[in-house]
């Protein structure tokens, strides 16, 4: 297997982008990534595109071909493949691109993610997202996505010391970071009160515990490490790529408050990279809901089970803390265009490792991690990236 490096990254701004279509978004992100890698499109050998549900969001399937076409690749006939794993689609697209390069099958590969979510009414987007869980046995009886994570929160708060304020602090911290990220959907700081007084969605989760509906796209370009310096002075090495699965339905999990797929993917990634959680300078975790970030930092090993609330309230996950979590603002503040999120996480870590993250820069960052979850934890992708 060959070593793989990220040589370029690009993200659109995230938000309710009424003026941009699905294909506009993708082309914009791809162009930024190509520019970043100082690469001509003719050098691209293959593309992988993470997308959860263009079929339901914009009535469009066959995304691989569409994307290749509008990226100007149709006449070059390169392979272009859509990857779907609900909200982990982007993380899996990145992993497929890494595997393609590591195996020697391809050299220069684009991994992208895109979601256009605001072309349907809010009720319809909520229903589409429910498809990431078990439609027959969760969605059918009235489960919503926030409802499922709310049941994780109820279980967690029954068993471990987590206060409502500590949970809210996750959102406050992520909005603080989002306010320092020019692509973030929400660039406003909030207070605990903002969260605690927001509309109830699914008890105990309120509106400000939930990631928003977002349009956006992100793209990264990967290449063999030994060719990376042809394109960039600051290649970022992929130190580990790991993926794990679990039961589709939350009710079938071994433990409601532990995402075993996160535990498995995290352990695999650390083993591949020969690193431990102590070596990680910052991590982008999948905070689709505040409780998800609490579980993620425990399940990845950054603190012990039951201690993430205090850990967060003590500022250990903030910029300047022991392990800064979601410097981008996370899904909560940066936004969550579901198929693009896994790629955006990689973009954020690459920017941090290149010392390019502006007001949210972690000093001396050398190694970063991404954690991307599909559904309530049925798919997890974990990547570790490092400076070379």
């Amino acid at each position: 297997m060959r070593d793989v490096a990220v040589i370029g990254v690009g993200c659109t701004t995230f938000g309710e982008k009424w003026e941009s279509s699905f294909r506009d978004l993708f082309v914009e992100a791809g162009a930024i990534a190509l520019e970043d890698a100082q690469l001509s499109g003719e050098k691209i050998d293959a593309m992988y595109v993470g997308n959860m549900s263009a079929g339901r969001f914009i009535d469009q399937e066959h995304i691989g071909a569409l994307i290749a076409d509008y990226a100007g690749m149709a006449t070059r006939h390169i392979p272009s493949t859509r990857v779907e794993a609900a909200c982990a689609s982007g993380g899996l697209a990145f992993r497929q691109a890494v595997i393609a390069v590591a195996s020697g099958m391809e050299d220069i590969v684009v991994a992208a993610g895109v979601e256009k979510m605001t072309d349907v009414e809010p009720g319809a987007s909520t229903d589409t997202l429910t498809g990431a869980a078990d439609r027959e046995w969760e969605g059918f009886v009235g489960a919503t996505f926030p409802g499922l994570y709310a049941m994780i929160a109820t279980d967690y708060m029954h068993r471990y010391p987590l206060t409502r304020e500590q949970l809210a602090q996750v959102a406050v911290k992520n909005h603080y970071n989002g306010a320092r990220n020019p692509i973030a959907q929400y660039q406003q700081e909030i207070t605990l009160d903002t969260v605690l007084r927001s509309t109830m969605v699914a008890e105990p989760l309120r509106l400000f515990d939930c990631s928003p509906i977002t349009d956006g796209a992100a793209a990264v370009i990967v290449a063999p490490l030994d060719r990376a310096r042809e394109f960039t002075d600051t290649p970022i090495k992929v130190l580990a790529s790991a993926q794990a699965s679990d039961t589709i339905a939350l009710h079938d999990r071994r433990d409601i408050s532990t995402l075993d797929a996160t535990v498995a993917a995290g352990k695999r990634a650390f083993k591949i990279a020969r690193l431990s959680h102590k070596d990680i300078d910052m991590v982008e975790v999948h905070d689709c809901f505040t409780i998800a970030e609490i579980c993620a930092i425990e399940d990845l090993g950054f603190c012990r089970k039951g201690e993430a609330g205090k850990f967060t309230a003590d500022g250990e996950t903030a910029l300047g803390g022991k392990i800064p979590v979601n410097t981008s603002g996370g899904l909560k503040a940066c936004g969550h265009p579901v198929g693009a999120t896994g790629i955006k996480q990689v973009c954020e870590i690459v920017q941090q490792l290149r010392n390019d993250a502006g007001k949210r820069q972690i000093d001396g960052a050398k190694i970063g991690m991404t954690h991307n979850v599909g559904g309530t934890g049925a798919t997890v992708a974990v990547h570790i990236l490092g400076r070379v």
Binding site: G123, E138, M151, T154, I256
Partner: protein, 130 residues
């Protein structure tokens, strides 16, 4: 949801017919046709569940998908059936009544309607045991 898609699950949804692996004795609801423990050595047969269980975790849904908007706020829970498996269900009770560990029993209820002229989905909910 198409009529056929709903209709083929009627025994499971109306009467809590799940499955059981005769090789290892494990029960499955929602039903599985393949035992994850015994794999190809498993022997799956239908099993009618008694419809008694305990609340494992819950939430009160305030923002629902379109089909359930008229029901809000409603109680959604994961319950553990006495035979072992866990399932997601609505609990027919006031939001302030539901508790972890609460005993519940199955009841036949309307679940949702497919728009104004679509089919009515019936199925099983659970209610507190007095």
């Amino acid at each position: 949801m198409s009529v056929a898609r709903f209709w083929r699950k009627i025994p499971q949804r109306y009467n809590l017919i799940g499955t059981k692996c005769e090789t290892c004795g494990r029960h499955f609801f929602p039903p599985r046709t393949f035992c994850p423990d015994c794999r190809r050595n498993g022997k799956i047969v239908d099993h009618k569940f008694a419809g008694k269980g305990t609340v494992v975790t819950y939430t009160i849904i305030h923002a629902a998908n379109e089909q359930f908007e008229a029901l809000t706020p409603y109680v959604l829970a994961i319950i553990q059936l006495d035979e072992g498996p866990r399932m997601t269900t609505q609990i027919v009770c006031r939001p302030d009544e539901v508790k972890i560990g609460m005993r519940v029993k199955s009841v036949f209820r309307r679940i949702a309607t497919d728009g104004e002229s679509g089919i009515i989905h019936y199925g099983t909910k659970f209610m507190p045991v007095e």
